[in-house]
């Protein structure tokens, strides 16, 4: 009985903590890492700083939004399967409710002239944000002949050849795998 009570208290704490993180991180992505660190490491002591670094590394190499990767991972470490469910649900709930509310009004406001003007300006601003994101990601890529080829191929195939994005992504992963095996194979031969 007592064991059950303790467990449900942890689940409730997980839910509330991730709801807080989900509510206060605007824009999502890496912006939420500092808040996650403060809430789960400093305040709750559920995981340590090394775990957070690992989570970031894993989030980079698994599909899906970082928010979900993190809440599932920490939730699982603290409360098993149901911890993962509850943590992830808490993370999603705030943005889910807010976007639902917005979707009801956005369509109605979109036809007002002043809102149209505002969005004309906003789209140019958003383009700037995407260009900056592109620059940051470009800086983070290790530069070699292989990566330049992949970058150029993915760009051309998607922008001008209209190839399905999923196929492009899958091919690039396969290409990366093959070239890295060839590279390690050569290194072994040299030894």
């Amino acid at each position: 009985m007592k064991e059950n009570e303790k467990k449900s208290r942890i689940l409730l704490q997980l839910f509330i903590t991730f709801m807080k993180i989900g509510t206060f991180t605007f824009g999502g992505g890496y912006a939420m890492i500092p808040l996650i660190q403060r809430e789960t490491v400093v305040k709750r002591k559920w995981v340590d700083d090394e775990d957070i670094l690992n989570i970031v590394a894993i989030a980079e190499s698994t599909p899906g939004p970082i928010a979900i990767n993190t809440s599932t991972f920490v939730g699982y470490r603290v409360g098993g399967f149901w911890g993962a469910v509850v943590g992830t649900a808490g993370m999603i709930l705030p943005s889910f409710v807010i976007i639902l509310a917005i979707s009801f009004v956005l369509k109605r406001f979109q036809d007002i002239q002043i809102v149209k003007y505002a969005f004309n300006g906003i789209r140019a601003g958003v383009l700037a944000l995407i260009i900056r994101a592109l620059w940051l990601m470009y800086k983070n890529v290790k530069k070699s002949a292989v990566t330049y080829i992949v970058m150029a191929a993915a760009f051309v195939l998607c922008a001008f050849a209209d190839v399905n994005v999923i196929i492009v992504i899958a091919c690039c992963a396969l290409f990366g795998l093959i070239t890295s095996y060839i590279k390690t194979g050569k290194e072994k031969q040299n030894i």
Binding site: G28, A84, S95, G121, A124, L129, F155
Partner: protein
């Protein structure tokens, strides 16, 4: 059935986006536009909404598209779809994440995926840029010749601010104000 189509489409989006933030954009563009659920303009507008509200772009866009297409039940399906792939994968590797992280196969795949995402976002810059500067839509009739200069001006200002690490929400608000001012002056 529409609910299953929403779930499956967003499951694919969730399963094939690596790295957070705008890495999602190329896939959302192609999958959501292929179904006719949103056009390029809707997507760019929604990026601004997503940057100004909590949560990540993927979840926000899933919730929004789901609601637009099939009501609240639709938004639940789409959101569930985008979340499930990473939820399942993290559950599988949570116990052995060190092994996973150091695995040669994962490292090899990532060495191809990282530059691929850069190329794909580059493609998104082209599609969004096309929407900003040569929109076919009728909603922007005031933004023709003069509009191109206005958009270019806002783009340059926003670029400078974003490289000075000004918060995206401030950039969006400023772009909105400039857009309104330009609209009424023209």
């Amino acid at each position: 059935m529409i609910y299953i189509r929403l779930l499956w489409t967003f499951f694919k989006i969730g399963a094939f986006t690596f790295g957070g933030g705008y890495a999602m954009l190329p896939l959302v563009e192609s999958e959501v536009m292929a179904h006719g659920w949103m056009d390029e303009q809707d997507i760019v507008n929604f990026i601004a909404v997503s940057e100004s509200t909590p949560g990540s772009f993927a979840i926000n866009v899933a919730t929004y598209v789901g609601e637009e297409v099939a009501g609240i039940a639709g938004s639940v399906c789409a959101t569930l779809g985008v979340v499930l792939p990473s939820f399942i994968i993290i559950l599988i590797i949570a116990g052995c994440y060190k092994k996973f992280r150091d695995s040669g196969i994962i490292k090899g795949c990532m060495s191809g995926l990282k530059p691929a995402v850069v190329g794909l976002i580059g493609a998104s810059v082209i599609s969004v840029g096309r929407e900003v500067f040569i929109p076919d839509g009728l909603a922007v009739e005031i933004f023709k010749a003069a509009g191109t200069y206005v958009s270019a001006g806002i783009l340059v200002i926003a670029l400078i601010l974003s490289f000075k690490k000004v918060h995206p929400i401030i950039i969006i608000i400023l772009s909105a104000i400039l857009g309104i001012a330009a609209g009424y002056i023209a």
